[in-house]
Protein backbone atom coordinates (compact mmCIF):
# COMPACT_ATOMS: atom_id res chain seq x y z
CA UNK A 1 0.00 0.00 0.00
CA UNK A 2 2.02 2.96 -1.24
CA UNK A 3 -0.73 5.41 -2.14
CA UNK A 4 0.78 7.79 0.39
CA UNK A 5 4.09 7.91 -1.50
CA UNK A 6 2.38 7.92 -4.87
CA UNK A 7 0.60 11.10 -3.82
CA UNK A 8 3.72 12.46 -2.18
CA UNK A 9 5.68 12.34 -5.45
CA UNK A 10 2.91 14.31 -7.10
CA UNK A 11 2.59 16.75 -4.20
CA UNK A 12 6.30 17.52 -4.38
CA UNK A 13 6.26 17.72 -8.16
CA UNK A 14 3.19 19.96 -8.33
CA UNK A 15 4.66 22.60 -6.06
CA UNK A 16 8.29 22.64 -7.11
CA UNK A 17 9.69 23.57 -10.53
CA UNK A 18 12.95 21.81 -9.61
CA UNK A 19 11.17 18.50 -9.10
CA UNK A 20 9.26 19.06 -12.33
CA UNK A 21 12.55 19.48 -14.15
CA UNK A 22 13.88 16.31 -12.57
CA UNK A 23 10.76 14.47 -13.70
CA UNK A 24 11.45 15.63 -17.25
CA UNK A 25 15.20 14.99 -17.14
CA UNK A 26 15.56 11.81 -15.13
CA UNK A 27 12.28 10.38 -13.99
CA UNK A 28 13.82 7.07 -12.87
CA UNK A 29 16.06 8.62 -10.28
CA UNK A 30 13.25 10.90 -9.09
CA UNK A 31 10.86 7.99 -8.61
CA UNK A 32 13.63 5.90 -7.07
CA UNK A 33 13.41 8.07 -3.98
CA UNK A 34 9.89 6.88 -3.18
CA UNK A 35 8.39 3.55 -2.14
CA UNK A 36 6.24 2.71 -5.16
CA UNK A 37 4.87 -0.37 -6.88
CA UNK A 38 5.76 -1.09 -10.50
CA UNK A 39 2.18 -0.24 -11.50
CA UNK A 40 2.41 3.15 -9.79
CA UNK A 41 5.80 3.88 -11.32
CA UNK A 42 4.51 3.10 -14.79
CA UNK A 43 1.38 5.20 -14.29
CA UNK A 44 3.47 8.18 -13.16
CA UNK A 45 5.80 7.96 -16.13
CA UNK A 46 3.21 7.48 -18.85
CA UNK A 47 1.28 9.46 -17.39
CA UNK A 48 -1.78 7.26 -16.97
CA UNK A 49 -4.27 9.71 -15.50
CA UNK A 50 -7.08 7.15 -15.46
CA UNK A 51 -5.09 4.59 -13.50
CA UNK A 52 -3.72 7.19 -11.06
CA UNK A 53 -7.31 8.30 -10.47
CA UNK A 54 -8.51 4.74 -9.83
CA UNK A 55 -5.56 4.07 -7.51
CA UNK A 56 -6.97 6.83 -5.31
CA UNK A 57 -4.75 9.83 -5.96
CA UNK A 58 -6.55 12.86 -4.54
CA UNK A 59 -8.33 14.65 -7.37
CA UNK A 60 -6.75 18.00 -6.64
CA UNK A 61 -3.25 16.52 -6.75
CA UNK A 62 -4.09 14.72 -9.99
CA UNK A 63 -5.67 17.82 -11.57
CA UNK A 64 -2.48 19.81 -11.05
CA UNK A 65 -0.41 16.96 -12.49
CA UNK A 66 -2.65 16.79 -15.58
CA UNK A 67 -2.25 20.56 -16.00
CA UNK A 68 1.54 20.15 -15.77
CA UNK A 69 1.28 17.68 -18.64
CA UNK A 70 -0.81 20.21 -20.61
CA UNK A 71 -3.68 17.74 -20.86
CA UNK A 72 -6.79 19.53 -22.09
CA UNK A 73 -9.63 19.78 -19.58
CA UNK A 74 -12.11 17.54 -21.41
CA UNK A 75 -9.42 14.95 -22.11
CA UNK A 76 -8.44 14.95 -18.45
CA UNK A 77 -12.04 14.32 -17.34
CA UNK A 78 -12.43 11.63 -20.00
CA UNK A 79 -9.19 9.93 -18.91
CA UNK A 80 -10.63 9.52 -15.44
CA UNK A 81 -13.87 8.05 -16.83
CA UNK A 82 -11.86 5.71 -19.05
CA UNK A 83 -9.77 4.71 -16.05
CA UNK A 84 -12.91 3.66 -14.18
CA UNK A 85 -14.17 1.75 -17.22
CA UNK A 86 -10.88 -0.06 -17.57
CA UNK A 87 -9.85 -0.65 -13.96
CA UNK A 88 -13.08 -0.40 -11.96
CA UNK A 89 -14.16 2.00 -9.23
CA UNK A 90 -11.77 4.34 -7.44
CA UNK A 91 -10.05 2.30 -4.74
CA UNK A 92 -9.37 4.91 -2.05
CA UNK A 93 -9.99 8.45 -0.96
CA UNK A 94 -12.89 10.85 -1.36
CA UNK A 95 -12.70 11.68 -5.08
CA UNK A 96 -14.67 8.70 -6.39
CA UNK A 97 -16.80 9.04 -9.50
CA UNK A 98 -20.41 9.25 -8.35
CA UNK A 99 -22.11 10.57 -11.47
CA UNK A 100 -22.11 7.40 -13.57
CA UNK A 101 -19.66 8.87 -16.06
CA UNK A 102 -22.02 11.66 -17.16
CA UNK A 103 -20.80 14.99 -18.49
CA UNK A 104 -22.21 17.68 -16.20
CA UNK A 105 -21.25 20.75 -18.19
CA UNK A 106 -22.12 20.23 -21.83
CA UNK A 107 -25.67 21.61 -21.67
CA UNK A 108 -24.72 24.86 -20.02
CA UNK A 109 -21.59 25.87 -21.85
CA UNK A 110 -21.23 28.86 -24.07
CA UNK A 111 -21.47 27.92 -27.73
CA UNK A 112 -17.97 27.31 -29.02
CA UNK A 113 -16.79 28.49 -32.39
CA UNK A 114 -16.21 25.49 -34.62
CA UNK A 115 -13.48 25.97 -37.16
Amino acid sequence: MSLYYLQKVLYELNRDAGVQQQYLDDVESLLGKYTLTEEERTALKKPDIGLLYVLGVNGQILMHFAAFHKIEWDDYLQSMRDGVTEHGAVRAGVYAMTGGGDNFTKDTEAKQEVD
Partner: protein, 272 residues
Protein backbone atom coordinates in the same frame (compact mmCIF):
# COMPACT_ATOMS: atom_id res chain seq x y z
CA UNK B 1 -13.10 47.92 15.29
CA UNK B 2 -10.19 46.49 13.42
CA UNK B 3 -12.10 44.01 11.28
CA UNK B 4 -13.40 46.30 8.56
CA UNK B 5 -14.70 43.79 6.02
CA UNK B 6 -15.73 40.13 6.04
CA UNK B 7 -17.00 38.23 3.04
CA UNK B 8 -16.76 35.00 1.10
CA UNK B 9 -16.23 34.04 -2.51
CA UNK B 10 -15.61 30.97 -4.65
CA UNK B 11 -12.14 30.00 -5.85
CA UNK B 12 -12.58 27.18 -8.36
CA UNK B 13 -9.81 27.19 -10.99
CA UNK B 14 -12.34 27.09 -13.82
CA UNK B 15 -13.33 30.68 -12.90
CA UNK B 16 -10.22 31.85 -14.71
CA UNK B 17 -9.06 28.72 -16.55
CA UNK B 18 -12.28 28.05 -18.44
CA UNK B 19 -13.73 31.56 -18.55
CA UNK B 20 -14.53 31.47 -22.26
CA UNK B 21 -16.63 28.33 -21.90
CA UNK B 22 -19.13 29.81 -19.44
CA UNK B 23 -22.39 31.48 -20.37
CA UNK B 24 -21.07 35.03 -20.80
CA UNK B 25 -24.09 36.70 -19.19
CA UNK B 26 -23.86 34.76 -15.92
CA UNK B 27 -20.07 34.82 -15.93
CA UNK B 28 -19.88 38.57 -16.34
CA UNK B 29 -22.43 39.13 -13.59
CA UNK B 30 -20.30 36.94 -11.32
CA UNK B 31 -17.17 38.86 -12.23
CA UNK B 32 -19.05 42.13 -11.59
CA UNK B 33 -19.85 40.93 -8.10
CA UNK B 34 -16.23 40.00 -7.45
CA UNK B 35 -15.47 43.55 -8.53
CA UNK B 36 -17.97 44.79 -5.92
CA UNK B 37 -16.03 42.79 -3.34
CA UNK B 38 -12.80 44.40 -4.52
CA UNK B 39 -14.32 47.85 -4.15
CA UNK B 40 -15.84 47.04 -0.75
CA UNK B 41 -12.45 45.90 0.51
CA UNK B 42 -10.77 48.98 -0.90
CA UNK B 43 -13.42 51.30 0.54
CA UNK B 44 -13.08 49.65 3.94
CA UNK B 45 -9.58 51.10 4.15
CA UNK B 46 -8.17 47.64 4.85
CA UNK B 47 -4.40 47.62 5.36
CA UNK B 48 -4.18 43.85 5.09
CA UNK B 49 -6.38 41.02 3.82
CA UNK B 50 -6.70 37.70 5.58
CA UNK B 51 -7.70 34.98 3.12
CA UNK B 52 -9.18 31.96 4.87
CA UNK B 53 -8.67 29.28 2.27
CA UNK B 54 -8.93 25.59 1.74
CA UNK B 55 -5.77 24.76 -0.13
CA UNK B 56 -5.27 21.75 -2.31
CA UNK B 57 -1.87 20.31 -1.34
CA UNK B 58 0.25 23.27 -2.31
CA UNK B 59 1.95 23.45 1.10
CA UNK B 60 0.42 20.91 3.42
CA UNK B 61 0.46 17.17 3.00
CA UNK B 62 -0.27 14.11 5.06
CA UNK B 63 3.29 14.06 6.39
CA UNK B 64 2.45 16.96 8.70
CA UNK B 65 -1.06 18.25 8.14
CA UNK B 66 -2.15 21.15 10.32
CA UNK B 67 -5.82 21.59 11.17
CA UNK B 68 -5.13 25.33 10.91
CA UNK B 69 -2.23 27.34 9.60
CA UNK B 70 -1.60 31.09 9.35
CA UNK B 71 1.03 32.65 7.12
CA UNK B 72 3.79 34.77 8.60
CA UNK B 73 5.81 35.35 5.45
CA UNK B 74 7.34 38.49 4.11
CA UNK B 75 6.24 37.47 0.66
CA UNK B 76 4.31 34.66 -0.96
CA UNK B 77 4.12 33.39 -4.51
CA UNK B 78 1.69 31.68 -6.82
CA UNK B 79 0.12 30.04 -8.61
CA UNK B 80 1.75 26.62 -8.27
CA UNK B 81 -0.36 25.47 -11.21
CA UNK B 82 0.77 25.80 -14.79
CA UNK B 83 0.05 29.52 -15.42
CA UNK B 84 -1.22 28.88 -18.94
CA UNK B 85 -3.68 26.37 -17.56
CA UNK B 86 -4.96 28.57 -14.72
CA UNK B 87 -4.61 31.70 -16.86
CA UNK B 88 -3.05 33.56 -13.97
CA UNK B 89 0.55 34.55 -14.42
CA UNK B 90 3.10 34.01 -11.61
CA UNK B 91 3.12 36.77 -9.02
CA UNK B 92 4.87 37.68 -5.83
CA UNK B 93 2.32 38.59 -3.19
CA UNK B 94 3.30 40.83 -0.28
CA UNK B 95 2.83 39.56 3.27
CA UNK B 96 2.84 41.38 6.58
CA UNK B 97 4.96 39.26 8.92
CA UNK B 98 4.80 41.56 11.89
CA UNK B 99 1.01 41.84 11.76
CA UNK B 100 0.83 38.08 11.20
CA UNK B 101 2.91 37.55 14.33
CA UNK B 102 0.49 39.56 16.46
CA UNK B 103 -2.56 37.86 14.95
CA UNK B 104 -1.10 34.38 15.37
CA UNK B 105 -0.10 35.12 18.96
CA UNK B 106 -3.64 36.14 19.80
CA UNK B 107 -5.26 33.20 17.96
CA UNK B 108 -2.97 30.82 19.87
CA UNK B 109 -4.52 31.93 23.13
CA UNK B 110 -7.42 29.62 22.29
CA UNK B 111 -6.59 27.65 19.12
CA UNK B 112 -3.44 25.66 18.36
CA UNK B 113 -2.69 27.04 14.95
CA UNK B 114 0.42 26.20 12.97
CA UNK B 115 2.21 29.06 11.25
CA UNK B 116 4.33 29.25 8.14
CA UNK B 117 6.84 31.77 6.82
CA UNK B 118 6.76 30.07 3.43
CA UNK B 119 3.58 29.56 1.49
CA UNK B 120 2.91 28.91 -2.16
CA UNK B 121 -0.55 29.83 -3.32
CA UNK B 122 -2.64 27.53 -5.47
CA UNK B 123 -5.89 28.44 -7.22
CA UNK B 124 -7.60 28.48 -3.82
CA UNK B 125 -6.01 31.84 -3.05
CA UNK B 126 -4.78 33.01 -6.47
CA UNK B 127 -8.22 33.02 -8.09
CA UNK B 128 -9.73 35.25 -5.36
CA UNK B 129 -6.68 37.57 -5.42
CA UNK B 130 -6.85 37.82 -9.21
CA UNK B 131 -10.18 39.60 -8.73
CA UNK B 132 -9.89 41.16 -5.27
CA UNK B 133 -6.34 42.57 -5.35
CA UNK B 134 -5.47 42.43 -9.05
CA UNK B 135 -2.40 44.63 -8.56
CA UNK B 136 -1.12 42.40 -5.74
CA UNK B 137 -0.48 45.50 -3.68
CA UNK B 138 -2.42 44.72 -0.50
CA UNK B 139 -0.54 42.65 2.11
CA UNK B 140 -2.08 39.19 2.37
CA UNK B 141 -2.20 36.91 5.38
CA UNK B 142 -3.04 33.42 4.12
CA UNK B 143 -4.90 31.08 6.41
CA UNK B 144 -5.69 27.45 5.82
CA UNK B 145 -8.24 25.09 7.26
CA UNK B 146 -7.75 21.44 6.37
CA UNK B 147 -10.65 20.56 4.08
CA UNK B 148 -8.67 18.03 1.99
CA UNK B 149 -6.77 15.39 3.92
CA UNK B 150 -8.97 13.40 6.34
CA UNK B 151 -9.32 13.53 9.25
CA UNK B 152 -10.57 17.03 8.46
CA UNK B 153 -10.85 19.90 10.87
CA UNK B 154 -14.19 19.52 12.69
CA UNK B 155 -16.77 22.19 11.86
CA UNK B 156 -17.10 23.42 15.42
CA UNK B 157 -13.33 23.90 15.55
CA UNK B 158 -13.51 25.94 12.34
CA UNK B 159 -16.08 28.10 14.12
CA UNK B 160 -13.84 28.55 17.17
CA UNK B 161 -10.95 29.38 14.88
CA UNK B 162 -13.07 32.06 13.20
CA UNK B 163 -13.90 33.52 16.59
CA UNK B 164 -10.22 33.57 17.47
CA UNK B 165 -9.38 35.32 14.19
CA UNK B 166 -11.95 37.99 14.99
CA UNK B 167 -10.57 38.50 18.47
CA UNK B 168 -7.10 38.81 16.96
CA UNK B 169 -8.27 41.35 14.35
CA UNK B 170 -9.99 43.38 17.04
CA UNK B 171 -6.81 43.38 19.10
CA UNK B 172 -4.65 45.07 16.46
CA UNK B 173 -4.86 48.75 15.50
CA UNK B 174 -4.65 48.03 11.77
CA UNK B 175 -7.74 47.82 9.63
CA UNK B 176 -8.03 44.22 8.50
CA UNK B 177 -10.33 42.64 5.91
CA UNK B 178 -11.12 38.93 5.87
CA UNK B 179 -12.33 36.81 2.98
CA UNK B 180 -13.24 33.16 3.30
CA UNK B 181 -13.03 31.14 0.13
CA UNK B 182 -14.40 27.75 -0.69
CA UNK B 183 -17.02 25.91 -2.58
CA UNK B 184 -20.41 24.96 -1.42
CA UNK B 185 -21.57 21.76 -3.09
CA UNK B 186 -19.23 20.57 -5.83
CA UNK B 187 -17.38 17.56 -7.14
CA UNK B 188 -14.20 19.21 -8.42
CA UNK B 189 -11.36 17.26 -9.98
CA UNK B 190 -13.54 14.22 -10.55
CA UNK B 191 -15.31 13.11 -13.75
CA UNK B 192 -18.41 14.63 -12.14
CA UNK B 193 -16.92 18.13 -12.29
CA UNK B 194 -19.78 20.48 -13.04
CA UNK B 195 -22.28 18.63 -10.86
CA UNK B 196 -23.81 21.15 -8.43
CA UNK B 197 -26.55 20.56 -5.87
CA UNK B 198 -28.25 23.93 -6.12
CA UNK B 199 -30.94 23.08 -3.60
CA UNK B 200 -28.34 22.10 -1.02
CA UNK B 201 -26.39 25.27 -1.76
CA UNK B 202 -29.41 27.51 -1.35
CA UNK B 203 -30.32 25.80 1.90
CA UNK B 204 -26.78 26.24 3.23
CA UNK B 205 -26.71 29.88 2.14
CA UNK B 206 -29.96 30.57 4.02
CA UNK B 207 -28.31 29.35 7.22
CA UNK B 208 -25.15 31.24 6.37
CA UNK B 209 -27.04 34.50 5.67
CA UNK B 210 -28.68 34.54 9.06
CA UNK B 211 -25.40 33.39 10.62
CA UNK B 212 -27.12 30.45 12.24
CA UNK B 213 -24.27 28.80 14.09
CA UNK B 214 -26.20 25.74 15.27
CA UNK B 215 -27.61 25.05 11.82
CA UNK B 216 -24.20 25.37 10.16
CA UNK B 217 -22.46 23.21 12.75
CA UNK B 218 -25.12 20.51 12.38
CA UNK B 219 -23.72 19.41 9.02
CA UNK B 220 -22.05 16.04 9.10
CA UNK B 221 -19.26 15.09 6.70
CA UNK B 222 -20.75 11.77 5.60
CA UNK B 223 -23.99 13.48 4.67
CA UNK B 224 -22.13 16.41 3.10
CA UNK B 225 -20.08 14.02 0.98
CA UNK B 226 -23.25 12.33 -0.27
CA UNK B 227 -25.21 15.51 -0.92
CA UNK B 228 -22.57 18.09 -1.72
CA UNK B 229 -19.48 16.16 -2.77
CA UNK B 230 -16.01 16.34 -1.32
CA UNK B 231 -15.94 19.97 -2.41
CA UNK B 232 -18.66 20.56 0.18
CA UNK B 233 -16.05 20.00 2.90
CA UNK B 234 -14.88 23.54 2.12
CA UNK B 235 -17.89 24.99 3.98
CA UNK B 236 -15.36 25.17 6.80
CA UNK B 237 -14.07 28.42 5.33
CA UNK B 238 -17.58 29.90 5.19
CA UNK B 239 -18.22 28.77 8.76
CA UNK B 240 -15.00 30.31 10.06
CA UNK B 241 -15.83 33.56 8.29
CA UNK B 242 -19.34 33.58 9.77
CA UNK B 243 -17.80 33.11 13.20
CA UNK B 244 -15.37 35.97 12.54
CA UNK B 245 -18.39 38.12 11.67
CA UNK B 246 -19.56 37.58 15.25
CA UNK B 247 -23.26 37.02 14.64
CA UNK B 248 -23.61 39.58 11.83
CA UNK B 249 -25.94 38.61 9.01
CA UNK B 250 -24.65 38.21 5.48
CA UNK B 251 -25.76 39.66 2.20
CA UNK B 252 -25.25 37.05 -0.53
CA UNK B 253 -24.94 39.45 -3.42
CA UNK B 254 -24.32 36.75 -6.00
CA UNK B 255 -25.09 33.08 -6.31
CA UNK B 256 -25.42 31.07 -9.50
CA UNK B 257 -24.36 27.57 -10.47
CA UNK B 258 -21.82 27.78 -13.31
CA UNK B 259 -21.11 24.14 -14.18
CA UNK B 260 -18.02 24.74 -16.33
CA UNK B 261 -16.56 26.55 -13.30
CA UNK B 262 -17.46 23.40 -11.32
CA UNK B 263 -19.21 25.26 -8.50
CA UNK B 264 -22.16 27.40 -7.48
CA UNK B 265 -20.38 30.72 -7.71
CA UNK B 266 -20.91 32.86 -4.65
CA UNK B 267 -20.10 36.36 -3.40
CA UNK B 268 -21.25 37.53 0.04
CA UNK B 269 -20.43 40.21 2.54
CA UNK B 270 -21.28 40.40 6.21
CA UNK B 271 -23.08 43.38 7.67
CA UNK B 272 -20.44 44.03 10.30
Amino acid sequence: MALVYAGVCSHAPGITARAERADPVVRDEFYANLEIMRQDIKNSGAEALIVVGAEHFANFFMNNMPAFCIGMGDEYSGPIEDPDWLKIQPHKVPGSPELSMRIISEVMQTVDTAFAEEWKFDHGIMVPLHFLTPDYDLPIIPVNINCQGPPLTPLHRAWEFGEALRRACDAVPEKVALVGTGGISHWPATPDSGKINEEWDRDFLEKFKRNDKDAMLAYDDVQTYNDAGQGGFEIRTFIATAAAAKGATADVHFFAPIPIFAVGCTCARFNL
